[in-house]
């Protein structure tokens, strides 16, 4: 309607005015005129009435003033307008687009002068929308965009990174469909206008291997940043196109052609891996970080046959960095080794690791066994009444590529691994196939962990369904399996605590104080001592008697010697007490009568005596100190005398 055209023209005039006026207030919080106008234009695009206005708008936006305006906000909006224009799907709209595509591309790609940093995301999305529209004879654009796309994979903004990956994959798809790249058309590739006699002007056939070679050219970059970005890009491409040749039957000649174009050949894969292996040994941490990422993707996706030849060099290179905790090196390398163990078996990998690093493998094994045991326990306690909330979004918020890059073998409590970025977009169909495969792998994981990740919870219901308005509703929802939790609670109550017990009737905590416990024991002990003493007195005392074998009573002789011994014993006891009171060393024993036992006693402990008060010396061969003291009678055999054979024996 005239309204629309009128509106459009008005906006356009205002915009042009605003642009020429410009830089009155460069950094004000309110939007400037050009920005506002462009915002309106963004909204207008879907409703433009005719082709004329559309092309006029296109030209306006592509003009240098707008597209390369110093103001970043203006640039951003310009890209957004273009994005909307290029996403047009009506028949007339498409025609306009095709006509103008050349000019669009020219402005966009070949005059990419001052792209503002914050406009990169929009520019990348625009490019990824345009690329599928490229006619097959314009493929020379792709090599010009590759460096930009690769560097964009290192952007801070998550969506920008996603757009960069999209762009890379989009370009790859374009290449896969075939065509010819005329190198002569690539401007700015060194020689430019001059025609070289050999090499430079050759046309190349577009295919995935060719594309990968082009991307890999970035490995020769100047900065580690570029190299690292290239490796990341390559790992993404590897993930998408390592391909299963079995899926395409090579019957007809044309089909083999497609097969050849759309997959990475084994040689290419091999070359890629060996190149990246070299970078693994680099000193720069950024490069190593992306290399480790590449290796992880490779180990996860590729068949063992591809990795086998490189194992010899791969494992030492990985182990070299395996003690580095920064940048998650240690963790990632551990995950890689878990996968390697699965793929190649323990023996083969053990053969290639040095002595010091075998510990790592052993540790991995132990973890796996532990996880397995836990899984079995958890599964056994699973039968119980449970009703799970249906998981609406499983770990599909992590697309398959990220799962390969950040996931781990069995995620048993490795919460530091879960750096799951929440990207919405699922990747292309190859990516989706991978996703299904990974989901199947996930079934092997511990069920409770899986449920935890899905956000499931247990609802304990009686007869009626859970009433959400009930006060006690929250109490019925629990995180863990109710059967397991109950068992754990019961066990805890049974075991009780060393210091307190719950009185069953009153529910009070009764504390075990030392005095009570101690005094209880002591009382018993004292009683026992009294009875023992009475017994001994009855046997050995002055008035005591014994019966010999015939049953005849023999009264104790109270000889001089025995009297003297009794006195001495009493004396010794006194002295002992006093000595202990003073803290002096204990009695040395009566030398005359007890040399053999005494020496033996000393010699019993000698072997294990430590010089520096470090406790008993434990010998690797022979007995340990706390066991097996040999017994014997007092005088003849060396050994501890426990039957008091030397002491005042009667009859």
């Amino acid at each position: 309607m005239q309204d629309l055209v009128g509106t459009y023209n008005k906006i356009k005039t205002l915009l042009l005015q605003g642009l020429s006026a410009s830089t009155s207030k460069p950094s004000s919080s309110d939007a400037t005129v050009p920005q506002t106008m462009l915002d309106f234009l963004v909204q207008l695009v879907p409703y433009l009435p005719d082709a004329e206005t559309a092309s006029s708008l296109l030209e306006l936006v592509l003009s240098e003033e707008v597209l390369q305006n110093k103001d970043t906000a203006v640039q951003k909006r310009a890209y957004r307008v273009l994005l909307r224009l290029c996403s047009a799907s009506g028949t007339v709209g498409e025609r306009v687009l095709q006509e103008k595509l050349e000019s669009i591309i020219e402005e966009l790609v070949e005059k990419s002068g001052n792209v503002a940093a914050s406009a990169k995301k929009d520019r990348t999305t625009l490019l990824s929308t345009i690329i599928p529209l490229l006619p097959a004879d314009k493929l020379h654009i792709i090599p010009s965009i590759i460096p930009e796309a690769v560097l964009a994979t290192k952007e801070a903004n998550e969506t920008a990174r996603g757009a960069a990956y999209d762009l890379l994959v989009g370009m790859a798809e374009k290449m896969a469909k075939g065509g010819i790249i005329r190198r002569s058309l690539i401007k700015g590739s060194g020689e430019g206008e001059e025609e070289e006699a050999d090499g430079m002007v050759e046309d190349a056939e577009a295919s995935i291997p060719e594309y990968v070679t082009m991307v890999a050219a970035g490995l020769a970059g100047n900065t580690p940043h570029m190299i690292s970005a290239t490796i990341t890009a390559l790992s993404r491409l590897l993930f998408e196109y390592h391909g299963k040749l079995a899926s395409v039957s090579a019957v007809a000649g044309s089909l083999t052609n497609i097969c050849f174009l759309a997959q990475l050949s084994n040689e290419t894969i091999g070359e890629l891996i060996s190149t990246i292996l070299v970078f693994l040994g680099s000193a720069n941490r950024e490069i190593v970080k992306s290399s480790v990422g590449f290796v992880k993707v490779a180990v996860v996706c590729l068949a063992p046959v591809h990795i086998q030849p490189h194992l010899e060099k791969l494992i030492p290179a990985l182990l070299h960095w395996s003690h580095e905790h920064k940048n998650h090196f240690k963790l990632n390398i551990r995950h890689i080794f878990e996968r390697l163990l699965r793929k190649f078996g323990y023996e083969e990998i053990e053969a290639l690791t040095g002595e010091e690093d075998r510990k790592l493998l052993a540790n991995i094994r132990k973890r796996q066994q532990r996880a397995k045991r836990k899984r079995e326990e958890g599964d056994m306690a699973v039968d119980g009444q449970e009703s799970q909330d249906e998981a609406t979004k499983p770990s599909a918020s992590r697309n398959a590529y990220e799962e390969a890059l950040y996931g781990s073998e069995d995620e048993d409590g490795d919460s530091d691994v879960e750096e799951a970025p929440k990207t919405a977009a699922l990747k292309g169909k190859t990516g989706q196939q991978q996703q299904q495969q990974l989901r199947k792998n996930a079934i092997g994981r511990r069920k409770q962990d899986q449920r935890d990740e899905l956000g499931a919870s247990y609802i304990q219901e009686g007869e009626e369904p859970l009433d959400l308005l009930d006060e006690k509703m929250l109490g019925r929802i629990s995180r863990g399996n109710p059967a397991v939790e109950e068992a754990r609670r019961a066990k805890r109550e049974q075991a009780g605590s060393a210091y307190a017990k719950t009185d069953s009737r009153s529910g009070k905590l009764v504390f075990n104080e030392d005095g009570d416990a101690g005094s209880d024991g002591e009382d018993g002990q004292q009683g026992e001592l009294d009875s023992t003493n009475a017994y001994l007195e009855a046997i050995r005392g002055e008035d005591g008697f014994r019966r010999n074998a015939k049953g005849q009573v023999k009264v104790n002789k109270s000889t001089k010697r025995s009297r003297a011994q009794l006195e001495e014993d009493a004396l010794v006891e006194d002295v002992k007490d006093k000595l202990e009171g003073l803290g002096v060393a204990k009695e040395r024993g009566r030398r005359e009568k007890r040399p053999p036992t005494k020496k033996f006693k000393e010699s019993i402990g000698q072997d294990f005596k430590a010089k520096k008060a470090g406790g008993d010396v434990k010998k690797s061969d022979g007995i340990n100190p706390y066991a097996y003291v040999p017994l014997g009678n007092g005088k003849k055999r060396a050994g501890l005398n426990i039957v008091n054979k030397g002491k005042k024996s009667r009859s």
């Binding site: 629309l4 919080s29 939007a31 915002d39 433009l48 009435p49 005719d50 047009a88």
Partner: protein, 57 residues
């Protein structure tokens, strides 16, 4: 169904004026409000009657 169409017709008659107002509001809206105003503008643009829509998204 009919009522809806009649309402739409009424609105599209009013929309040029509304749009003018909305454009003005937008410039005063500030960062937070801008998005909502834009959505509104977009909605009203869609019902603006025009002869033939040749450029569809």
């Amino acid at each position: 169904m009919d009522m809806g169409k009649k309402n739409l017709q009424l609105l599209s008659g009013l929309s040029p004026n509304l749009l003018a107002v909305m454009f003005n509001v937008f410039s005063k809206a500030g960062k937070e409000g801008r998005g909502y105003v834009l959505d509104c503008i977009s909605a009203y643009l869609s019902i603006l009657t025009h002869k033939v829509s040749t450029f569809r998204v």
